[in-house]
Symmetry: C4
Subunit: 398 residues, 4 copies
Amino acid sequence: MFTATSPLPDLESGDIVIDALLGTGISRPLSGLFDSIAKHINNSKALVIALDTPSGLQTDSSTDSNNTIIKAAYTLTFECPKLAFLFPENEDYVGNWVLLPIGISQSCIDVLVSDNIYLTKDLVRKIVKRRKKFSHKGTFGHALLIAGSKGKMGAAVLSGKACLKTGAGLLTVHAPSCGYAIMQISLPEAMVQCDLQNNFFSGLDTRQIPKEKVVGIGPGLGMATETQQALKTLIQNIRKPLILDADALNILAENKTWLSFLPENSILTPHPKEFERLAGITSNSFERKKLLTEFAVKYKVYIVLKGAHTIVATPEGRCFFNASGNAGMAKGGCGDVLTGMLLGLMAQGYTPMEVCLLGVYLHGSSGDWALKKSSLQSLMPSDCIESIAEAYKDLEAL
Amino acid sequence: MFTATSPLPDLESGDIVIDALLGTGISRPLSGLFDSIAKHINNSKALVIALDTPSGLQTDSSTDSNNTIIKAAYTLTFECPKLAFLFPENEDYVGNWVLLPIGISQSCIDVLVSDNIYLTKDLVRKIVKRRKKFSHKGTFGHALLIAGSKGKMGAAVLSGKACLKTGAGLLTVHAPSCGYAIMQISLPEAMVQCDLQNNFFSGLDTRQIPKEKVVGIGPGLGMATETQQALKTLIQNIRKPLILDADALNILAENKTWLSFLPENSILTPHPKEFERLAGITSNSFERKKLLTEFAVKYKVYIVLKGAHTIVATPEGRCFFNASGNAGMAKGGCGDVLTGMLLGLMAQGYTPMEVCLLGVYLHGSSGDWALKKSSLQSLMPSDCIESIAEAYKDLEAL
Amino acid sequence: MFTATSPLPDLESGDIVIDALLGTGISRPLSGLFDSIAKHINNSKALVIALDTPSGLQTDSSTDSNNTIIKAAYTLTFECPKLAFLFPENEDYVGNWVLLPIGISQSCIDVLVSDNIYLTKDLVRKIVKRRKKFSHKGTFGHALLIAGSKGKMGAAVLSGKACLKTGAGLLTVHAPSCGYAIMQISLPEAMVQCDLQNNFFSGLDTRQIPKEKVVGIGPGLGMATETQQALKTLIQNIRKPLILDADALNILAENKTWLSFLPENSILTPHPKEFERLAGITSNSFERKKLLTEFAVKYKVYIVLKGAHTIVATPEGRCFFNASGNAGMAKGGCGDVLTGMLLGLMAQGYTPMEVCLLGVYLHGSSGDWALKKSSLQSLMPSDCIESIAEAYKDLEAL
Amino acid sequence: MFTATSPLPDLESGDIVIDALLGTGISRPLSGLFDSIAKHINNSKALVIALDTPSGLQTDSSTDSNNTIIKAAYTLTFECPKLAFLFPENEDYVGNWVLLPIGISQSCIDVLVSDNIYLTKDLVRKIVKRRKKFSHKGTFGHALLIAGSKGKMGAAVLSGKACLKTGAGLLTVHAPSCGYAIMQISLPEAMVQCDLQNNFFSGLDTRQIPKEKVVGIGPGLGMATETQQALKTLIQNIRKPLILDADALNILAENKTWLSFLPENSILTPHPKEFERLAGITSNSFERKKLLTEFAVKYKVYIVLKGAHTIVATPEGRCFFNASGNAGMAKGGCGDVLTGMLLGLMAQGYTPMEVCLLGVYLHGSSGDWALKKSSLQSLMPSDCIESIAEAYKDLEAL
């Protein structure tokens, strides 16, 4: 066993190093002897286990990569993850982190800096509504999904399936004509409304959207000029929160002035590239989180930034970091599934805030359940959809 | 423990109240002290368990909602449910009700007021016919399903699958041309007859219906003018009981004079909205049940009113309340499955009465079996179809 | 316990009657006292168990239905079933029959009258060929399936799937154009050759059939004039045994002179109605079996007469009665599955005789395995296909 | 027990013969007494078990079939298979061979003649990359699959599914228009790019292939003149290693001058017939292996020669013989699955060498896992795809 006060011994493969914070404080750059020790450890093949935080890592802001930071294989931390643990650039320093309970009774919500909340099962399970015995399909709402274009109809299929599996009472998919048979064969439970165009979305008679319908738009949508115009019309005429994903976001990115017309409390679900197109480039995850929060507050919308720890930024300026999910979900189509799930929850009358928190957690959890029957490489978005039931049951179990 | 004769103690969360009938009789409005006690209980957070019936609830007629009624979390009742327990408006008073056997040997049929019968497994299992060894596909009949229109072909798929899974020997689906490939891909076991129209049902050469075929019509049918006319022609020319669902019922609702042409012992399967369009608005479930019975008697048809406890009203004026099923079945497509199942039973030679009782129970039971592998939110009509075999086996087990 | 020599006691429900052959011999009409006793038993509600054969039943020829025959619930017979047990008209007399081994070492083949053979697992398992390690897809042959017409493409799908699941190395389906996408979506493992016609089979360039291909024709084929002509051309030009089913047989029935052109050792798979159309009406199963044998001998073909105990009649005049299968297989599409399985076996190089015996038994056995996961009412032809692997493994197990 | 020095005893069924090398050396033709003994053994019905190698079999070159070679039912060999055991022509001599460990610590790589390597789980498991937590769909690459033609779209479906199941992040399938709906229905996770032609591949704007895309071509492609031209253009313009299969290889065989334009380190996956068309006829497996190696070296490509022991020949002149797989994979479509798997690995950033070794082993292993739930006859390429996850997990298990 080796601690920072010993002389520097030779470290070989098989040795274990416990990093119990080099230097006198957390989140301060290493220097002098501490810096040398850290470099010595990083250059060795020993197995490094950090306590609380790897030495040299700033936990609440970006760390200058010129500084020395311990590269741990495992980090044992207490009650809640540090913010830095949730960002990709620190994966090599933090390694696999494990939460150890230390008897702090308050949940992670309070432990994390107030506006950064770790979204766990405990937090989410309170949101799930009991399904009453005398409910009927109308009780669970009618969702309208506008999705698909020539060559990308699969996105509409995945999104629609996920919507119904998440509990919507009824689903209508508005799709270009080239997607008609595809939808009806792949998802008999959904109704299909054909667009006038064969290959892309060109418009919707907004009178066709009765008040009780909730609307999601984007998966596989494409960016045809007519589609852009049709999205604009939809945004300007609808009075209820929308869910916007994928190409709907890319269209907004090319027409940033439309952002102000978005119905309040709408939900946007970009992946990092899409968010960059919408809001601009940032130099690290801390800055991006800041921009994300500002964007959500400015436009009074929820932003679901997809990633290993998907972030939900709220119009009140808070950020929730999702605890569920796995790297098997890094495959085309998984985002379409998320959009469908959010839409399915909104149809059931959850508030936009509840939709985001429950939806994001359920989505990751579906992937975790699906992984038990698959492998990280082989996991398919369709598998996640099949596991939504297990994710629900897990939330509802005592 | 607290009873009506004690002074009113403070009730806190965690306390248990047994409501053993306030006042001197059942089904009489509460007043005076009894009313005060009931209000006190309802305002508390105690767990309320009612015996027999929550105090203040009328069991065989509608209860004035201005009166005070105990809101129980559980109601323990004896042998059979009271009629009021089966209606949505009383869910908040009755809570979860549980049947306790008290050694009355006669079945629920006799306990309930003679014309209101609780449809249980014991009652239904006697109906199921043994499938003889030397039977062939002709033994189990040839069903004709007229269903689907542009954008609603899924209803035909679900209904057709359910028909074959329930045991029909052969199935022909008459569908608009836009549904041709959809049907053949989704259900290879069915034959498809294409309508002359691409988008909707426009007519059937009634000579195409040989005597041995049974006919169901409605799922996803749409309400095109030609479809309405075609339905009229069908009704006027067919001599055997029809099964009518969904848009077939909506068409009848717009053409009420056609009701008198319905073949005797036909089966209509409306949900409450559809029944309202057909027969008019009522102010509560008791009135609706009365209207339902009158309608069934007047037109000499069976009405299957879909709901948490689906009601089968017979031409003789009796009502059967289904015991099986769950809230996961409140999703678009579940009604189409029921229609298919009824058609499948009729093909096998069951009488219309048997078709209704066995079909309605089996349908709910399929949903209950499917739920074991899913969740209330995620249950899909397709899942119910997959569980029809289990529902049958459950009925046939000793 | 009651035997024929006792006076006639009252028989009540719950009593058990052992029928150990009334009268002095087997297969002789009952008369006098014996007749009275039999009538007395049949009129009672006692449970009747027959030993060897129900009294009064002719075992090797048709029984005059005016005679009295004991109606047993169970018949315990020895080593092998009597011929009469295998025919539908005797189901009510024989009830469920059970084979009891009595130490006769020879198999049923020898016990039954030499030309009537009971086709059991023991007999069939010797036929299955071991699949060698260094085999490749060519080793297992290339099957050509000509099937499907507008509205009946499902038959081609089921048949094709069964063909590949039975072990063919390659499959090409020749289908009308309206079936193109249906086939490719439903069965990606098959190649599709489109007919020049959209709705039906109109011809095949017989040069397209290389020598190594085996050909099956019929499922869902329809009876268009062009199809009839195309079948004629095929029969006249092909040199290898064909498998003919369904509408291919109905066409032959309308063109009986073509029968003589059938390639020797072809396999015809009619159900009783189709066989009647081909060969004429008979008054009972014994006569039909006689006609069947004559037909097979005359045209030098194998006839597979589908039923509860499917009969394989060989060109040598022998009949094999299948022991596997169940009443759940009495559903449209199960015959198509059989045709596909026979074709799949022929592709693998089995002789026509082996194809018939192994195919018929495997088909029934697949249904028996599928039944374990379903119910008699809900069993689907697709389920049988999924269980072909289990049927094979059952045959190959020690 | 019988050894070569005893007089020749009678051998009966049930006797066991241990063949511990007749004659004084390995791989020398038998003669004289040894030849007589071997003939005597081969003519008997005894169970023959060979040690090391059946007497008379040349292990590293072709054996003259006029010589006598012991026909063993089992061969027990040590550490590694002899080269001859891996070739079809020796199956009847070697029978089932079993590897016995004898404590040689080095793996089979070193035991086999240096350039012939037996590809086992131990060798392959080191190749698999860990999937990092913060990866996203871009991390796992974007694959472009050019596949399918009229009637052979199933090949594209199988190949595409396998590609995604193997772990590609994104997949675009370039297909003729007749395959559009087929692809989108069968594989919603893939995007589809339609060719200008309805029935076959006619060209790709090579600017459409961004640098990060990897390209596979061939399954079900057909050999239309336009397709040939389009392949030529692709080869001449692409700068990254291609994967070529099936008709892409047949086109190359008809245009052998194009071979020199193949991007270095491309992967070709012929079955023996296709390789023969490409490289010429050989008279036995040893010669074919020699030609294979020369071909791989000459054109600087990897050749995957499909068979019971698929061979990977590398541009450096080495050959790897796959240890996984089974005879159930001898069915049309299994090659398409392999192509998809290789493409999926290449998308994830594996080197062409790693792609070949890992892909070939995983493919066979998927078939082995799928076989556990099927039979040799019933195994379908689709089943193999479903088992890719199990094959991965098996590799990653300790």
